[in-house]
C-alpha cells in the first residue's frame, strides 16, 4: 500500500510510519513529489545558544525556590517603603545569579566545543558524481557517505557496497553496546556491485524504512533498486544498517546511504536528554526552605496582627512626638495592612539564607577538587586521575543505596586470558606460553620434557632457550589444540597492512600485527592461546581454514558451521582434513557436551571442569567426532534439507544438530579467565558491608555473566541463585516470579539469595508484574541482569529509583551502552576504560578503575555528606539566630508604624556575607569526623549517614530549636542588661538603641562562630585562621566602620557605637556570660550523647584518639601535632582510667595493614564482620 502512495507523491512528512530515502537524493522526476524533512546531522548536547542563554538561564535559575523568593523580596523592597534598602537583598541576589550563570555558561561552552568537534569532523560524501569532503554536520538523509577503515560512521547508514566483492564489511560496536567482537554486515547484492563513485552515480534506488527508534538491534526496511527499468525489492534488516558511533574494521572502505542523521540516529536516541540531577541534600534543603518560609510568613502575619491590635488605641498609634502624615492617615486600611505585612516580610526575610546557595555552590565546586587530587584515585598505569564533571552531586556519593554496575570493562579488565586446560584427563597450566602438566614446574629438574608443546618460529628459537621438544607428545594433545584452533568463528584483522584483504598473502610472512576478532572473547583467547602454543590459526578464506602447526601449514576445508545458540550452548564445525577425512569439532558448556560424549576421559574431565569453575575460570569442553564417508553424506543431506526448509526451519535445524552432535569423543576442556580488575572482590564486599546493594547489569550472555559474578564475589558459592530467564510470556513470567518468591520465603533467613534476570524476561516482568519483581529483588542481596539493552539498563535504574523507598542509585560503566543508565541514576560514574570516552563524558564522575569506587563512596562521599549536611543545618541555625532578635525587638517597639530594625543595615548585609561565611565554608571543605583510612576499613560507618540521616527532620528541628534558644538568650540577655535602665559606663553616660543592637549582634557573631567551632572536629590551621579570624574581623571591621564619618552615608548612626560599647566593662562581662550560656547546654548534650549513645562514627573517633592515627599517618606530621595528639590521647586515657594500652595496641595491629604505605583496600577486620 505505501508503495503506491509513494508513487503518487503523497507522503506527509511526519505522520507516516516510514521514511522514504532516495539514494543520492535522486527524487522522482515525475509527479509532484513533496520531500520529507529530516533532521540534519548535527549532534547537539549543549543546552543554550548565545541568543537564548540569558533568558533561558535566568528562567532556570529563578525556578529555584530561593532565587525566586529573593527576586520577589527585592521587588517588594523596590515598591514599598521598607526598613531596609533594596540593595541589602538585591546585591546578594545579583551576585548569586551571576556566579551561577557564569558557571553554567562555561560548562555549556565546553559542550559546544565538544559538539563542534564532532559536527565538524571531515567526511566524504558522494555529490554530483564525485567524492566531496565535507563536514559531518552537512550530511543529509539520502547522501551516500564513504567511510574508510577504522573510521566511525558519521550517521546511521544502510550499507550499499564495500571494497569486497560480496559486499560485506566488519564493524565493532564497542562504543555502542560494549561488545568488542567483529560483526559482519551485509549489503544487498544489487548494490554491492556499485563499488566506485561512478557506478554509485548510476544507482537508482529507494530505501523505505521505519521512523527512527532507539532500539539498536531493530531495523525494518526495504530497498527498491531500479535496474534496467525493473524494480527489485529487497528487505533490509539490522545486518544492513551501520550505526553511527560504530567503527569500520578490517574493510578498506564502504559506501552507505544515510538514513537516520544527527539527533535521529540510534546512538543519539539512546542518550537520554540531560536532565539536571538534584541531590537528596538539595531536596531536603528545599523542604527546609519551605518550612522557613512558613516560619517567616507566620512571624510576619503575627507581627502585622499585633501591630493592629496595638494601633487600636490612638495613644500608641500616634503619640504627639511621632505624628503621621496626612497621606498615611488617609490611605486605605487594606492597602496599609498589605504594605505593613510586606514590610515585616522584608524585615524578616533574612531568615531564608540567600548565601546558603552561594556557599553550597562554592563548597561543591571547591570541594570537588579533592576527588581529582586524590592519589588513591589515581591510576598509575594509565596515568589517569579521577575526574569530576558535576560537582552538584558530591554529597550524593555518601547516600548511595544501590550500585548498578556494568560488567565488561568495569568489573573486568575486558581481557580474556587462557589459563588452564585438561587434555585427555591430564591437567595443564599455561606458564609463559607453555603448557605444563599440573604438579610440574617450568624448570623441572629432571628435564623430562615437561613442556610438551611449544611453538617457536625460527627467529624466536634462540631467544627462548627452551628444553622443550617441539613435537606433540601424543595424538590427543595435537588433536585438542587443533580442535581449539579450528572450532570457532574468529576473524582476523591485519593491522597496519594496507594490502587487499586477502589473509593468505600473509600466510608465510606471518605478520605479528595479526589480530583476532571474535564474537566471543573466549574464542579469541583460546585461539590466541593455541597460537602461543604452536598451533596458529592463520585465517579463513571462503571455505578454507588454514592453521600452522610448528610452522607447517595445514589447510582444512570448512564444510559446515553449526552455529552457537543459547539453548544448545555449544557450537560445532565440520571440516575436511587435508587427508580428506571429515571430522566434527564441538565446543561448548560442559553440560551441553559431556552427556553426548561416549569416549575419552569423561569422568576426569568432569572433575577438572569443576575445579576450573571453582577457580572462577570460564570453562568450555572440546570434543570431536570422525565421520565415515557414508555418515557424512547423511549429515550433509540432512543439514541441507533443514537449512533450506521453508517451514519450521528452526526446529528442524535443532533436530539435525542434535543428530550430528552425538557419540562425541571427548578431547578435553579449557579454562579461560576473564581477568577481573584489581580488587573488585574487596570493593564489592566493602560496598556490601556499607549497606549498598550491588546489581550487575550486563549485555553479556547469561552463563558468562554468572561466572564473572561468581568470580568477582558478587555472587557467593553459598548463595541460593534464583533465575528468571528465558521467559516467553507474561503468565509464565508471573508464575516464575511467584515460584521464586516462595523459594526465598521457605528458605532460612540466613541464606543469601542472588537473582539472575535476562533482558527479555525483565521487560516482561516490568510490564505487568513490577511489584512482584521488586519484591523478589529486594529480598536478594545480589542481582544480576544479563542480556540488557542500553535503555533497559536505564529502565531498571528508573524502576528502583521510583520505587516507594526512593533509594539513591549509582550507575557505573565504561561504554556507550552504559550512558543512558549513567544518566538515569542519581549518580553516574564513568570508568575510563578502553571503550571510548562516551561514558566518561556523560558521567558525573569518572574514575580509572572500579576499585576506586570504594574510596569515592566510603571516604569522599562520607566527607562530602557530613560537610554539606552540617553546612545546611548550620546555615538555617545561624539565620534563625540572626533574625529572631529582630522579631523579638518588635515587641518592644509596638510593631511600630513602620517596622523597627535592631541592626544597622551594613551589619544586616554583611552578617551572612562576611562575618559568618568563611568558618562554615572552611569547615565544609576540610571537616573530617573520622580519618579516611578508618572510613575505608570500616565500611559500616557508611550506614551512619545513610538515608539522609543528618538532614532528617529531627536534626533539622534540633538545629532550628537551638537557633531560637540562642536568639532568645542573646536578646533577653542584652535586654536585661540594658533594660534595667542603668548606665553601663563608668562616666554615667547612657547607651542608645544602636548600642543595644550592636551588643546583640556582637554576642551573636561570637556565639554562632563558636557553635561551629564546637561542631568542628578537624582543626587545620585554616579552621583556626578563619574561626578566630572571623571574630577578629568583626571587631576590626566594627571599629573601622564606627570610627569614620562615612561621607556617602546619610546618617552616621553607627559612629563610635562599637568603641563606646567596648569601653564598658559590663558589656564585656555580658558578652562573655551570654556566649557561655548559649553553648553550655550544647556541650552537655554532646557529652552525654557521646558517652551514653555513641554512634559508630564517634566510637571510631575514640579509637583513633587512643592510637593517634591522625598523626602517625599524616604525611607531613608536625612534631608538635604529634605531641598534641598523644598528649590528648594520654589525657583521655587517664581521665577514663580504663584504656588498656595492650588493647589499644592490639586493635592497632589489627588494622595495621590499612595504615601502611600500601594504600590498599582493606581486608575486613573480624570485628567488623561480626557487627554487620
Amino acid at each position: 500500500m505505501w508503495l503506491k502512495v509513494r508513487y503518487l507523491g503523497f507522503d506527509p512528512p511526519h505522520q507516516s510510519d516510514t521514511r522514504t530515502v532516495y539514494i543520492a537524493n535522486k527524487f522522482p522526476q515525475h509527479g509532484h513529489y513533496i520531500p520529507q524533512r529530516f533532521a540534519d546531522n548535527r549532534i547537539i548536547s549543549s543546552k543554550y545558544t548565545i541568543w537564548n542563554f540569558i533568558p533561558k538561564n535566568l528562567f532556570e535559575q529563578f525556578r529555584r525556590i530561593a532565587n525566586f523568593y529573593f527576586l520577589i523580596i527585592f521587588l517588594v523592597q523596590l515598591m514599598i517603603d521598607t526598613p531596609t534598602s533594596p540593595i541589602t537583598s538585591g546585591l546578594p541576589l545579583f551576585f548569586v545569579i551571576t556566579v551561577t550563570a557564569i558557571k553554567q555558561g562555561y560548562e555549556d561552552w565546553l559542550r559546544h566545543k565538544a559538539d563542534n568537534e564532532v559536527n565538524g569532523a571531515p567526511v566524504f560524501v558522494v555529490r554530483s558524481g564525485s567524492l566531496v569532503q565535507t563536514r559531518s554536520k552537512n550530511i543529509r538523509v539520502g547522501d551516500i557517505v564513504r567511510v574508510a577503515k577504522d573510521e566511525t560512521f558519521p550517521a546511521d547508514l544502510v550499507l550499499l557496497s564495500s571494497d569486497r566483492a560480496e559486499g560485506t564489511c566488519h564493524i565493532t560496536t564497542t562504543s555502542l553496546d560494549g561488545e568488542t567482537n567483529l560483526k559482519t554486515h551485509y549489503s544487498v547484492p544489487e548494490t554491492a556491485v556499485s563499488q566506485s563513485v561512478s557506478r554509485l552515480e548510476s544507482l537508482q534506488a529507494v530505501v523505505e524504512c521505519q521512523q527512527p527508534e532507539a532500539d539498536l538491534y531493530r531495523f525494518v526496511g526495504r530497498i527498491t533498486v531500479t535496474q534496467q527499468g525493473e524494480e527489485i525489492v529487497r528487505p533490509l534488516g539490522p545486518e544492513n544498517l551501520l550505526l553511527r558511533g560504530a567503527r569500520l574494521k578490517n574493510t578498506k572502505e564502504i559506501f552507505g546511504v544515510a538514513v537516520y542523521t544527527g539527533m535521529e540516529s540510534k546512538m543519539a536516541l539512546n542518550y537520554k536528554c540531560k536532565s539536571q540531577k538534584r541531590s537528596a541534600v538539595e531536596k531536603s534543603m528545599n523542604t527546609f526552605l519551605i518550612i522557613y518560609l512558613g516560619i517567616l510568613l507566620f512571624e510576619a502575619i503575627l507581627s502585622t496582627i499585633l501591630k493592629y491590635a496595638w494601633q487600636a488605641e490612638n495613644k500608641w498609634d500616634e503619640p504627639f512626638y511621632n505624628q503621621k502624615t496626612d497621606q498615611e492617615r488617609n490611605s486605605s486600611q487594606i492597602l496599609k495592612f498589605i504594605s505593613d505585612f510586606l514590610a515585616f516580610l522584608v524585615l524578616y526575610n533574612f531568615i531564608i539564607p540567600i548565601s546558603l546557595y552561594v556557599t553550597v555552590e562554592m563548597q561543591k565546586f571547591l570541594g570537588s577538587f579533592f576527588i581529582g587530587w586524590d592519589l588513591d584515585l589515581y591510576h598509575e598505569e594509565s596515568d589517569q586521575k579521577a575526574q569530576v564533571n558535576t560537582s552538584d552531586l558530591n554529597e550524593e556519593l555518601g547516600q548511595v543505596e544501590y550500585v548498578f554496575t556494568d560488567k565488561t570493562g568495569t568489573l573486568t579488565e575486558n581481557e580474556m586470558q587462557f589459563r588452564e586446560c585438561s587434555i585427555n584427563g591430564i591437567k595443564y597450566q599455561e606458564i609463559n606460553g607453555k603448557l605444563i602438566p599440573e604438579g610440574m614446574t617450568e624448570d623441572s629438574p629432571d628435564g623430562a620434557v615437561p613442556c610438551l608443546v611449544r611453538f617457536s618460529s625460527a627467529g624466536e628459537d634462540s631467544v627462548y632457550k627452551s628444553k622443550c621438544v617441539y613435537t606433540f607428545q601424543n595424538k590427543e594433545e595435537e588433536l585438542f589444540l587443533k580442535a581449539v584452533s579450528l572450532c570457532h568463528t574468529v576473524q582476523i584483522s591485519y593491522d597496519q597492512v594496507d594490502g587487499p584483504g586477502d589473509p593468505f598473502s600473509h600466510a608465510n610472512g606471518f605478520s605479528p600485527q595479526m589480530e583476532y576478532y571474535a564474537s566471543s572473547p573466549d574464542e579469541k583467547a583460546l585461539v590466541e592461546a593455541t597460537k602461543r602454543m604452536g598451533v596458529t590459526f592463520i585465517g579463513s578464506h571462503g571455505e578454507i581454514m588454514e592453521i600452522k602447526t610448528f610452522g607447517k601449514a595445514e589447510k582444512y576445508k570448512l564444510l559446515h558451521v553449526l552455529e552457537f545458540d543459547a539453548d544448545r550452548r555449544r557450537m560445532s564445525v565440520i571440516l575436511q582434513k587435508p587427508s580428506g577425512e571429515k571430522v566434527l569439532f564441538t565446543k561448548g558448556a560442559e553440560s551441553a557436551v559431556l552427556p553426548y560424549s561416549t569416549s575419552g576421559e569423561i569422568d576426569k574431565t568432569r572433575v577438572h571442569v569443576d575445579e576450573f569453575a571453582l577457580k572462577g575460570l570460564r570453562t568450555l569442553v572440546v570434543a570431536c567426532r570422525h565421520f565415515s564417508a557414508d555418515e557424512y553424506q547423511e549429515v550433509d543431506r540432512r543439514l541441507h534439507e533443514a537449512r533450506t526448509a521453508l517451514q519450521q526451519r528452526e526446529e528442524r535445524l535443532v533436530e539435525v544438530f542434535n543428530f550430528i552432535e552425538k557419540d562425541l569423543e571427548l578431547l578435553g576442556a579449557t579454562g579461560v579467565e576473564d581477568k577481573l580488575q584489581d580488587k573488585v572482590q574487596e570493593t564489592i564486599e566493602s560496598l556490601r558491608l556499607a549497606g549498598i546493594k550491588v546489581w550487575v547489569l550486563t549485555g553479556d550472555k547469561h552463563e558468562t555473566a554468572v561466572s564473572v559474578s561468581l568470580s568477582c564475589g558478587h555472587f557467593h558459592r553459598t548463595m541460593n541463585i534464583l533465575e528468571l530467564v528465558k521467559q516467553k510470556s507474561d503468565s509464565e513470567c508471573a508464575e516464575q516470579l511467584r515460584r521464586l518468591a516462595r523459594r526465598y520465603n521457605t528458605s532460612s533467613h540466613f541464606t543469601q539469595h542472588g537473582l539472575v534476570v535476562d533482558g527479555a524476561s525483565l521487560s516482561l516482568a516490568l510490564r505487568e508484574h513490577e511489584k512482584l519483581f521488586m519484591e523478589v529483588c529486594k529480598n536478594c542481596s545480589a542481582v544480576l541482569c544479563c542480556r540488557m539493552a542500553p535503555l533497559q539498563k536505564a529502565k531498571v535504574v528508573r524502576l528502583l529509583k521510583t520505587s516507594p523507598e526512593k533509594p539513591i542509585t549509582l550507575a557505573i560503566g565504561d561504554g556507550a551502552n552504559d550512558v543512558s543508565m549513567i544518566q538515569e541514576a542519581h549518580v553516574g560514574i564513568g570508568i575510563m576504560g578502553k571503550e571510548g570516552r562516551q561514558a566518561v563524558r556523560n558521567s558525573d564522575y569518572a574514575i580509572a578503575r572500579f576499585k576506586f569506587l570504594a574510596k569515592l563512596l566510603l571516604v569522599h562521599g562520607h566527607f562530602y555528606y557530613i560537610r554539606i549536611a552540617t553546612l545546611v543545618q548550620y546555615f538555617f541555625y545561624k539565620n534563625v539566630c540572626f533574625i529572631t532578635p529582630q522579631f523579638l525587638y518588635q515587641f518592644f517597639c509596638l510593631f511600630s508604624q513602620q517596622v523597627s530594625t535592631l541592626y544597622d543595615s551594613v551589619y544586616l548585609t554583611l552578617y551572612n556575607i562576611c562575618f559568618t561565611s568563611l568558618p562554615i565554608l572552611v569547615y565544609s571543605l576540610f571537616e573530617q569526623l573520622v580519618h579516611p583510612h578508618v572510613l575505608q576499613s570500616k565500611p559500616a560507618l557508611y550506614r551512619d549517614i545513610s538515608k539522609n540521616s543528618l538532614l532528617s527532620f529531627k536534626t533539622f528541628l534540633y538545629w532550628t530549636f537551638l537557633g531560637f534558644c540562642h536568639a532568645f538568650i542573646f536578646f533577653f540577655g542584652s535586654y536585661t542588661l540594658m533594660g534595667e535602665d542603668t548606665t553601663l559606663m563608668g562616666n554615667g553616660q547612657m547607651f542608645g538603641n544602636w548600642t543595644f543592637g550592636t551588643l546583640v549582634f556582637t554576642v551573636m557573631v561570637i556565639t554562632v562562630t563558636l557553635k561551629l567551632a564546637l561542631e568542628t572536629h578537624f582543626w587545620t590551621w585554616m579552621n583556626h585562621f578563619v574561626t578566630w579570624g572571623s571574630i577578629a574581623f568583626y571587631f576590626i571591621f566594627s571599629l573601622f566602620y564606627g570610627g569614620i564619618i562615612w561621607p556617602f552615608l546619610h546618617t552616621q548612626d553607627m559612629y563610635f557605637i562599637f568603641v563606646q560599647l567596648l569601653s564598658s566593662g559590663s558589656a564585656w562581662f555580658a558578652i562573655f556570660i551570654i556566649v557561655i550560656t548559649c553553648l553550655f547546654p550544647d556541650v552537655i548534650k554532646k557529652v552525654f550523647y557521646r558517652h551514653l549513645q555513641p554512634t559508630s562514627t564517634q566510637k571510631s573517633q575514640f579509637i583513633e584518639a587512643y592510637q593517634g592515627i591522625g598523626c602517625v599517618d599524616s604525611m607531613c606530621c608536625f612534631s608538635e601535632g604529634q605531641n598534641a595528639c598523644s598528649r590528648l590521647g594520654r589525657l583521655v586515657e587517664r581521665m577514663m582510667g580504663r584504656c588498656d594500652p595492650a588493647r589499644a595496641t592490639r586493635s592497632w595491629s589489627d588494622s595495621d595493614t590499612f595504615f601502611s604505605n600500601d594504600r590498599s583496600i582493606l581486608t575486613l577486620s573480624p570485628m567488623e564482620v561480626s557487627h554487620c
Binding site: 511621632n322 517597639c893 509596638l894 508604624q897 554615667g988 547612657m990 590551621w1021 551514653l1092 584518639a1105
Partner: protein
C-alpha cells in the same frame, strides 16, 4: 616520585591535596568536660560574687514626678491649660550619697525606637551644612516645614520632641535653700559633641543669622541658637541636652543623663539631709500613658546598679559545677560504656 619533565596527570602528593593537613582533633569527652566545667564554674562563681558585691555598693534614688496621683506635688502641672508650671519635689537623704552623683531623668512608655521616629532627622543639617537648612531631607516629613512652608531647623520628629523639663536642686539647710550646682558638661558622648554634630558657622559674626530663613521646631519654645542663654557655647546643635536627647534609647523605658553633681561642696557627694527639687514641668507624657522619673545614682567601674550580671554569673557558675558533678556520678554509675566496640 615522578619525572620532572614528563607531563603527568598524577596529582600532587601534598598534605593539602590529600586532605591530610595536620590537624588538632579534639573530642568532647567527659574526661575533658568534667574538669573543664568545674574550673569554669568555680571561676564564674568568683566573678559573680565580685560583680554582685560591686553592684551592691551603688546607691540609687528614684522618684516619679509625673503627677498622676492627686496628692503628688506635680499634679497641678498635668492639667493641660497650665503654662510654665513649676512644682517642687522634696526628698531626704539619711546618709551621704557618695559622689560623683549622676542626675538622670527617665521616661517610660516612650518609644524612641520607632523606626519612622528614629530616621526623622537630617544628619547634614546637624553637621551645620546650611544647604540643608533651606531644604531638609524628606525623612523629616512631617516635621520638615511648618504650616507656612518654612523649613524647620533642626528638622524631624526627634528634635521636635526634645525633652524640655528643667530641674533645679536645693539642699535645705535649716530651712534655707542652698543651690546644689549641677554640671551640664560631659553628659553627652565625647564624639557626639566633638565630631559628629557641628554648628553652622556664624554669619557676620552672629550665630543666630546662620539660622536665617528657618523656623524652630514646632514644639520648641526657643530656637536652636537660644537653647542655653547662660552659655553661648552650649547652643545650637552642640547643646548637651540636645545631644543627649538625639541619642535615641533602645527600649520604651529609658533614662537620660541630665546633670552631674561634681562641683563645690557637693563634689564628694550629697550629704545627708533634706533636698528640694524644683521642676519646670513642660513635657506632656500622660497622653500616651507615659511616666517621668528623676534618678540620682553614683557609678562604679561597671556603671550603675546592675544586679543582673552578678546573678547571671552566679547561676551559670553553679550550673557548671552541678553539671560536672552530675556527669561524674553518671560516669561512675554507667562507666560510659563506649568501649564495647573494640
Amino acid at each position: 616520585m615522578k619525572n620532572e619533565g614528563e607531563a603527568s596527570e598524577q596529582p600532587d602528593n601534598t598534605a593539602f591535596t590529600q586532605q591530610q593537613l595536620p590537624a588538632w582533633q579534639p573530642i568532647l569527652s567527659a574526661g575533658i568536660v568534667i574538669p573543664g566545667f568545674l574550673i569554669i564554674g568555680l571561676a564564674f562563681l568568683g566573678i559573680g560574687i565580685g560583680l554582685f558585691l560591686t553592684s551592691q555598693t551603688i546607691q540609687v534614688l528614684e522618684m516619679d514626678y509625673t503627677g498622676v496621683e492627686k496628692d503628688s506635688p506635680c499634679f497641678q502641672c498635668t492639667i493641660q491649660s497650665v503654662q510654665n508650671c513649676t512644682c517642687e519635689v522634696t526628698f531626704s537623704l539619711s546618709a551621704l550619697f557618695t559622689g560623683p552623683v549622676f542626675f538622670y531623668y527617665g521616661l517610660s512608655n516612650y518609644f524612641q525606637n520607632f523606626r519612622k521616629y528614629g530616621v526623622s532627622k537630617d544628619y547634614y543639617q546637624l553637621t551645620g551644612d546650611t544647604q540643608y537648612f533651606k531644604s531638609p531631607r524628606d525623612v523629616c516629613f512631617p516635621y520638615s516645614h511648618d504650616s507656612k512652608n518654612n523649613p524647620i531647623v533642626p528638622c524631624g520628629a526627634i528634635a521636635n520632641s526634645m525633652f524640655n523639663d528643667t530641674f533645679e536642686l536645693y539642699q535645705i539647710i535649716n530651712g534655707t535653700k542652698k543651690k546644689v550646682p549641677l554640671d551640664g558638661k560631659g553628659i553627652s558622648w565625647w564624639t557626639d559633641f566633638n565630631i559628629k554634630y557641628r554648628n553652622p558657622s556664624s554669619v557676620n559674626g552672629s550665630f543666630a543669622s546662620a539660622f536665617d530663613g528657618t523656623v524652630k521646631p514646632i514644639n520648641w519654645p526657643k530656637a536652636a541658637y537660644e537653647l542655653d542663654l547662660t552659655d553661648p557655647n552650649n547652643n545650637g546643635f552642640l547643646n548637651q541636652d540636645f545631644l543627649v536627647w538625639m541619642r535615641r534609647a533602645a527600649l520604651p523605658q529609658f533614662r537620660k543623663l541630665y546633670r552631674r553633681i561634681t562641683e563645690g561642696d557637693y563634689a564628694g557627694g550629697l550629704p545627708a539631709g533634706n533636698y528640694s527639687l524644683t521642676v519646670h514641668y513642660n513635657y506632656p507624657v500622660l497622653s500616651f500613658d507615659g511616666r517621668k522619673k528623676l534618678v540620682f545614682s553614683n557609678v562604679s567601674w561597671m556603671g550603675g546598679k546592675n544586679d543582673f550580671l552578678g546573678i547571671a554569673y552566679l547561676v551559670v557558675g553553679s550550673l557548671c559545677v552541678v553539671m560536672s558533678v552530675v556527669m561524674l556520678i553518671v560516669y561512675a554509675k554507667f562507666k560510659f560504656s563506649d568501649d564495647d566496640d573494640a
